[in-house]
Symmetry: C2
Subunit: 388 residues, 2 copies
């Protein structure tokens, strides 16, 4: 399966973005629109301090139908009480008015600083006229949802006659759980809402839910999917495969552009007792600061791999059975470090992707997690980030 060279919004979908005055420069407001109402599904953060748009979004998505998504960056509208809820609702109403659609068919997202009220009048004014500027390039809207991302992210691929397009943003405060950062998935395939929900959850489970930039779960994580049906029905199995693939590709894009990141870190765990244990260990590996700095420093530190597997106290681990590979090279088995060529492994580790594979030989469970290295850039970005 392959992504298109240039992403495009599927048939009937369009988007626009603009600066409405939240950021000093650059787009801070994005609109996604389908010319017909679409089946819809969504998953949200499990964080217990969800943002106002997440609180409203959970209700809105119950109907399984959407026609537009409005997103602002810079301010996340989290920790803002009832006023925050009112402001999120007003934003959706303004978008509905602009597009002449039902307010309940518009879902909202906000990302940025927590604990600051949204200057909703800027959004209400900004939305006016956005309906006239709709385009087919998803990167236009991807720009408007960025915070500390270094570039806009979107990808498209084909499934039969249909197109599947994902627009996303990530960067920091990212270990989604039952949801993801901000990701919007559009397709012109015809899929009813209940099935769409099921397919989305399947895909998210092995992609965005296995992503961690820094172990911190955002209060605004949202992944919304719309299917407007304009390209007709598709083979369900084929579509699920495409959706899984596309979500994993976007997951890798988000990991690679994690705050300060220079490398994609992929941790694969095989032959664990259960899939659940494999996923837990893969996450422990991808989240370990010592593994992350090892990826950054390109040092094949086997000890840190053993340590990170070993600290999964409740998983079945038999030290004598552990087999480890770094970027395809066998580095540990039979309770001992192998006699691998260190210079060669250091070179592999210096590439753009570091892959650690751990085989436990205690069952058939497997799981893969995605993350990034930990560099001075992360510290710099987050120590100098001022909350007001």
């Amino acid at each position: 399966m392959q992504c298109h060279k240039k992403p495009v919004m599927p048939q009937g979908f369009s988007c626009s973005s603009k600066n409405c005055g939240l950021k000093e420069q650059g787009a801070d407001l994005s609109l996604f629109y389908s010319k017909v109402p679409a089946s819809a599904a969504a998953v949200f953060t499990r964080n217990q301090f969800p943002g106002a748009p997440v609180i409203l979004g959970r209700e809105l998505i119950q109907r399984g139908q959407l026609q537009a998504i409005v997103v602002n960056s810079k301010i996340s509208n989290v920790g803002t009480g009832q006023q925050g809820i009112d402001n999120a609702a007003k934003t959706g109403q303004a978008a509905a008015k602009e597009m002449k659609i039902a307010p309940e068919d518009v879902i909202m997202s906000s990302t940025g600083v927590i604990g600051v009220q949204l200057p909703v009048e800027l959004l209400e004014a900004g939305i006016q006229g956005m309906g006239q500027e709709l385009q087919e390039d998803p990167l236009v809207a991807a720009e408007g949802i960025m915070t500390t991302d270094t570039y806009p992210k979107a990808l498209s691929l084909s499934v039969g006659e249909a197109t599947l397009t994902i627009v996303g943003k990530g960067s920091g405060m990212i270990e989604p759980n039952m949801a993801t950062m901000l990701v919007y998935i559009f397709t012109d395939a015809k899929i009813a809402a209940p099935l769409l929900d099921q397919m989305l959850r399947t895909a998210v489970n092995q992609s965005f839910n296995m992503l961690s930039v820094d172990t911190d779960t955002s209060t605004s994580d949202s992944c919304v999917m719309m299917a407007n049906g304009l390209a007709g029905e598709v083979d369900t199995e084929e579509f699920q495969k495409a959706l899984d693939f596309a979500c994993i590709e976007m997951t890798k894009m988000l990991a690679r552009d994690g705050e300060g990141a220079g490398k994609l870190l992929v941790t694969k765990v095989k032959e664990a007792k259960t899939d659940q244990e494999a996923r837990f260990i893969a996450k422990a590996l991808v989240n370990s600061p010592l593994i992350k700095t090892m990826a950054y420093g390109a040092d094949p530190n086997i000890g840190r791999i053993l340590m990170a597997v070993g600290k999964c106290f409740d998983c079945t681990v038999v030290p004598e059975k552990l087999v480890c590979h770094i970027n395809g090279t066998l580095v540990y088995q039979n309770s001992n470090r192998t006699n691998f060529d260190e210079t060669a492994v250091r070179e592999l580790l210096s590439g753009e992707t570091v892959e650690i594979e751990v085989r436990l030989q205690v069952g058939t469970g497997q799981g893969t997690a995605y993350g990034c290295d930990l560099t001075e850039g992360y510290i710099k970005e987050n120590a100098s980030y001022y909350s007001s």
Copy 2:
């Protein structure tokens, strides 16, 4: 309660250290000795890849008696199979021979690189003569157990007629669990082994087990306690209080000297549903990279506090009830950021200790965790650390 200005080994205890050739310079081998056999207790790492000394130590401590501890730094003797076990045993035997005591009264520790065999002949040769160099200053032996620590750590205090002294090392790969990094506790109080074990576990539970430098649990964590009885019996309750206090003080010393750390980070959680939930949330706060970089950057980022509490999915959290203080200043309540003086709070955050207090108002559970800020120094140290 107060620590002595200058730590000293309790009556009957002594120690020495030397360079035996593992490190290029500086002490790498330490010996602790009691002139009479002492009651003993210990807790060890829960990591599933324990070092050879930990595997042997778990057996040795069963008898509840020790007379000496031998520790080397630079190589941890972890992931080294049967040869590693044999080498650890030989190290203990060499120490027993030098001190003319029973080999089963000597416990071993090793700290340093994982996955490398211990050049045991260097240790066997090095131990010879150490019995002649015994001293009463615990800092002498504290030197020999250091890895990336920036200074040797020891403290003493009095309990009635008895003295209580702790020697420790920490720095990185530190989130102990049911144990701690390398910590040795000596007292001349008379306490039988079963009670000693119970007292040690009580103290460790609220001190070293609530410490996290980087969420990574070492494979060598050991905390060994010896009580030789030379000062006679003590009031149990008073001794427990002193032991708790001393362990928390050592915990703070270890946190403050975490790799690259500039500040001690203390996170207090009150009025949680249970102590267990309070401890879990306190750990989530102290481990969050975004809280740690906020401490480093001295920015009162309330959003990161909400996020870290909120990502404790299985704890009882009612957003409307949350009350947060930073270094004593009220910063969040009633679902909103308070109108606090930001300049003043930034100044408080610029000090040597950052204290975040979260009151949940859903019960009576409480817990405090200890950690440090996350700085470029941690990245530098761990990205440039070469495993061979």
